[in-house]
Symmetry: C2
Subunit: 322 residues, 2 copies
């Protein structure tokens, strides 16, 4: 348990420009102590690193994204090279000159490590660094600040395997410490006020020894293939018919998987590596076969539909490569 946590805004920082020395600006503005955590808004890291680009925001987003996760109207939720899933790829046009777009730092974990090293080398203080950005989230209104970069701070508190006071194992509890630090610091930084840095005092146990930077905020990114929400609702349905992959190897079929599918006048028979769909009306057979293919795709199977001969369709299935 931590006894007492204090969070200070670091005020009086000048507008940051490309090439500025963030370590010097922060060390001058704050009375840092060993064990402090410094929370830095990614915007000033980007500015110091000269991540300003010319053009429209749309062009910038196109250049920054690796895949579109969900889209509705003009809003695009995309995954960035950093693995972050966020609106507009983290590009920023607020507090920037017209016609320019600010991009995220190339590698926010590296930025955090550099800043930490500079503060240690030149100001002899061992702090943890969290680089923050503001993200929306599914299911909840409003945004919170999360960690997109980190150095010298534990990003996740791994409590798996520890027990509570009744002796139950806390099986799945891994507080995302760095994200909670980011959100907490936002409470004093604010958006409109232009206070891009805050210091958290009282988290000494979460700050790593000098020379040990930890895995960084990258460890907070969940791989899309392990994520139950790797696509938006709309995109998941579209992908089920537009982005299917053929089977690449054997994979057993769970017979329950097709149990909710009932198409009148159609017989669905599962075999070892194919589902055979037959009936009196060939168009209806095609409809039912495609539904089987979508259901198999939904479970991660590779699938392919073959029509005929006659009023029969064969849906081959198996493992898939991605």
């Amino acid at each position: 348990m931590r006894k007492h946590l204090e969070i200070f805004p670091v005020t009086g920082l000048p507008e940051v420009a490309a090439g500025d020395d963030l370590a010097a600006l922060i060390a001058d503005g704050a009375d840092l102590r060993d064990g402090d955590v410094v929370s830095v808004t990614s915007k000033i890291v980007s500015k110091a690193e000269g991540r300003l680009t010319y053009g429209t925001r749309r062009e910038a987003v196109d250049a920054e994204l690796v895949r579109v996760v969900a889209q509705r109207g003009e809003t695009r939720i995309v995954q960035t090279r950093h693995g972050l899933v966020m609106a507009a790829a983290g590009t920023d046009t607020s507090n920037t000159a017209p016609g320019t777009v600010l991009l995220l730092p190339v590698d926010p974990d590296r930025s955090a490590r550099s800043l930490r090293a500079a503060l240690k080398d030149r100001y002899d203080v061992n702090v943890g660094i969290v680089v923050t950005d503001t993200l929306g989230r599914p299911w909840r209104n409003g945004q919170t600040d999360v960690a997109i970069g980190a150095a010298g701070v534990r990003v996740v508190e791994d409590l798996r395997g520890t027990t509570d006071s009744h002796g139950n194992v806390l099986a799945v509890t891994e507080p995302a410490l760095a994200d909670e630090i980011a959100g907490a610091s936002e409470l004093v930084k604010g958006k409109a006020d232009g206070v891009p840095v805050a210091v958290l005092r009282g988290l000494e146990d979460a700050v790593l020894p000098v020379g040990e930077d930890g895995p960084g905020a990258r460890a907070l990114v969940r791989d899309a293939e392990h994520d139950m929400f790797s696509l938006g609702t709309r995109e998941a349905a579209r992908a089920a018919v537009l982005d299917r992959q053929p089977p690449t190897g054997p994979r057993e079929l769970d017979p329950l998987l097709l149990s909710d599918l009932a198409v009148e006048g159609v017989l669905v028979e599962a075999g070892d590596n194919a589902v055979t769909v037959s009936g009196a009306d060939p168009v209806t057979v095609g409809v039912a076969a495609e539904r089987v293919a979508v259901l198999l795709h939904a479970e991660g199977y590779g699938v392919a539909v073959q029509a005929g001969p006659g009023a029969v369709a064969t849906v081959t299935f198996g493992s898939r490569s991605k």
Copy 2:
């Protein structure tokens, strides 16, 4: 801008049981001041309210959920009556006796209002209350604490329409204050240590006047119909074939919507309220028609597929009721 934020754990609280007076326990354990925000783990609210049930966790989840959002193996992400999307409907078996399951408070906003009123009436202190729980999130590892109940505290800072230092309007920035408060307080509460209450001092501007409780944490819940992730990737694909609704009224078709669909040997023609699919092979026509239906469903259309006559299928479309 806030000047300085302090967060204290409230230590020495006894194990809470049904009927316990939380206001008295908290007022005894903490030196509360006007303008403080008290962050209370939902677990002790549930315990005080006697929300313990007998049976298996699976039974408890079944009783608490209103819909399944996503499922993979034993993990079920569900929406609760409160609108919260969370694993296992917020049921809890850690720190509870074997064979019992702790449920969420019936109405955590009401719980927060009661606690606030009791602290004002009996201890003459005007505080904001946040009731917290631990939630996983898509795309990121680890969990964070968020607000599931709130009273007397602004839950969202509405900065829409305010301008930054360049005069740009901060169009979509609404920090989820109550969630950031919940996450910040978790930094001192911790999971394994059993410190269920923390006090945040320095957020006086976010605490509402006596008599004004605000909209509560319910305001942080986004309606499923406005959410781009209302279903898991798997469930969205399944729903596209299993939970379709028929058209209930006219709705115009965006011609781009079907442009990515290409099935060899099949002609797809869009009309005012139906798409006609035709070709030489009727099974292939059925496959293509079903793909059209899935793509239309993905965009929120009501759809119905009709086979025939011959190698033709008709996909009627329009608005849908939900």
